[in-house]
Symmetry: C2
Subunit: 337 residues, 2 copies
């Protein structure tokens, strides 16, 4: 099949086609201009994705690659408590990539951004031997509403939004379609969807402000997203705050399909270390924590407590499985083999 390649239309031709995905007023200058509200802090976050390292044709359509790239950055904004102002997209492309592939990537990016009322405000397209997608997202947040990692206090409840392990389970099923045949089609599709179209939890922010609004002082809140895994998130918060934690395994919300399908060990592996669920892990005093879980629904739960120790201990309360001290070494490291 013959198709139009990016080298056939050049950088300028490609830029012209991609302008339809951006608001018209931002095109044509050396930079994009955005209006911020007074008394808001600016939050910036950046992610680079590389073909065959972070996504692959086997598991990810160009639309899904675009959605996931946008969602990862919006999730970082949500983790800081910030509302999105826009993103920039830097693309590295081999000359023989199909123009339609790039348009489908942008389609996925903009579908995700539109859902959260934001847009692409700038970018760069360059020739490269490998496809790479660099996204920088900007958001704004009142200085007293910034969510940091280093603010967890002894006695805080640890709240997780949504379920954990779904994205990893979906990825495994995409890599090996014979997996999960025991599952009903709807459950299987939900897990695959969790991998392909993760939802950044910007919807949690207004609920948090409702529960915790003390305009004059910073919120008694810390947290981050679980993009590198639930275990990693708890460990990072504890390390940054100089505290420990106790987690109860039975309280970690799992996808309902896990019970029929996976052993307890596999379910734990996916939920704690699977990553890319893009949920929030939040530490706050126990009363607002209960209120938050009640308002969130959909599997949100208090999974443990911040302690004055230095370890993160996972309690199984189950004779067959010993309690476990979690370690950062299990996390995904990009360069080590």
């Amino acid at each position: 099949m013959s198709y139009l390649k990016v080298q056939d239309i050049g950088e300028q031709g490609l830029l012209e086609r991609l302008q339809s995905f951006c608001p018209p007023e931002i095109i044509g200058d050396d930079g994009a201009v955005l209006t911020t509200q007074p008394e808001q802090s600016l939050v910036v976050t950046t992610d680079v994705l590389v073909d065959r390292v972070h996504f692959s044709e086997i598991t990810t359509s160009p639309e899904d690659a675009g959605w996931r790239a946008a969602a990862a950055n919006l999730s970082d904004l949500a983790a800081m408590g910030a509302s999105p102002l826009g993103i920039t997209v830097g693309l590295g492309l081999p000359g023989d990539v199909a123009v339609s592939w790039v348009e489908r990537l942008y389609q996925g990016i903009t579908e995700c951004l539109q859902k959260y009322n934001t847009s692409i405000v700038g970018g760069d397209i360059v020739r490269s031997p490998v496809i790479s997608i660099s996204i920088t997202a900007f958001g704004q947040v009142h200085p007293n509403r910034i969510i940091r990692r280093n603010n967890a206090a002894v006695g805080d409840a640890i709240v997780v939004t949504g379920v954990h392990g779904a994205s990893r389970a979906g990825l495994e099923m995409l890599l090996n379609p014979s997996l999960g045949q025991i599952l009903i089609q709807g459950d299987k599709q939900a897990l695959i969807r969790a991998h392909q179209r993760p939802q950044p939890r910007l919807d949690v922010l207004p609920i948090l402000w409702k529960i915790l609004d003390f305009p004059d002082i910073p919120l008694p809140l810390s947290g981050m997203d679980s993009s590198d895994g639930l275990a990693d998130a708890v460990l990072q918060i504890c390390r940054a705050s100089g505290v420990g934690a106790v987690l109860e395994y039975a309280q970690i919300p799992l996808p309902r399909a896990f019970e029929r399908w996976l052993t307890k060990e596999q379910a734990m592996e996916y939920a704690l270390y699977g990553g890319e669920d893009f949920e929030l892990v939040l530490c706050l005093p126990i009363e607002p924590a209960y209120e938050l879980v009640q308002l969130l629904g959909e599997g949100a739960s208090i999974i443990g407590t911040i302690t004055d120790g230095s370890q993160v201990i996972l309690l199984y309360k189950n004779k067959e499985m010993p309690d476990q001290v979690l370690s950062l070494n299990r996390g995904f490291q990009h360069f080590k083999s």
Copy 2:
């Protein structure tokens, strides 16, 4: 020679080493927090550089690659009239890159940023088969001081800062060290330096505000930087503003070495199409334009006038060379062969 590679220390190890190049307060969260001044607009700009496409070991040390990447983005901010708030750096790295190479790259980036009182505020490091550097820069500017491309008016003078063609001449000498042997060592070094350490013209902004400060209305000003060449800058401004221009070749400031060394044709080629001089091309009424040139010094000049035509005409006023209509097609296109 054995040296430490990034795969030997992993992403976390590399991040720890690179933290010394960032302000301590911005480390450790999902995003960086920046304070903007009220009533300022946010300007964002992004660039991707790929090894062997945009820089090469032959002509560019890691320090120079870093400086140039930072300078290109600060130049885009200057072209919009914005003062820098910070940059993010997204790095794609093969596992066998030397850790010292990455540290030297960051050294070059931060040397440039320090000169302009700004810093790295965030980033991402990922594994990639090719080295890529994605920089997004943020700046702020009062809404009435934004410099756009689409605001050039018939009768405006066209001012260029600095000299043009120096960066391209320096690149040619790095690629072919036998070139320019007729030149004295100081002139040769100055051209090479212009390529390796270009200076974004943020210093021009306070001079512009001094001449043109009308706080209640937008400035009668348009412009962009000459990173893709002087001809490209004038053509882009004219296209965006729906106007034409007449340029006088004899008024374009050239490096003093060109006269001894290059034919008129070569000098014109480098000055108009060489690119990467990172100077500013500004269109404004004639009186403030004269004042600006007087205050700028160092080769700045009025090189022409905005007309009500649609073409950009270059006048040679010289029997041996015919007048010329400039065209965008001469510009550098990343994908076309």
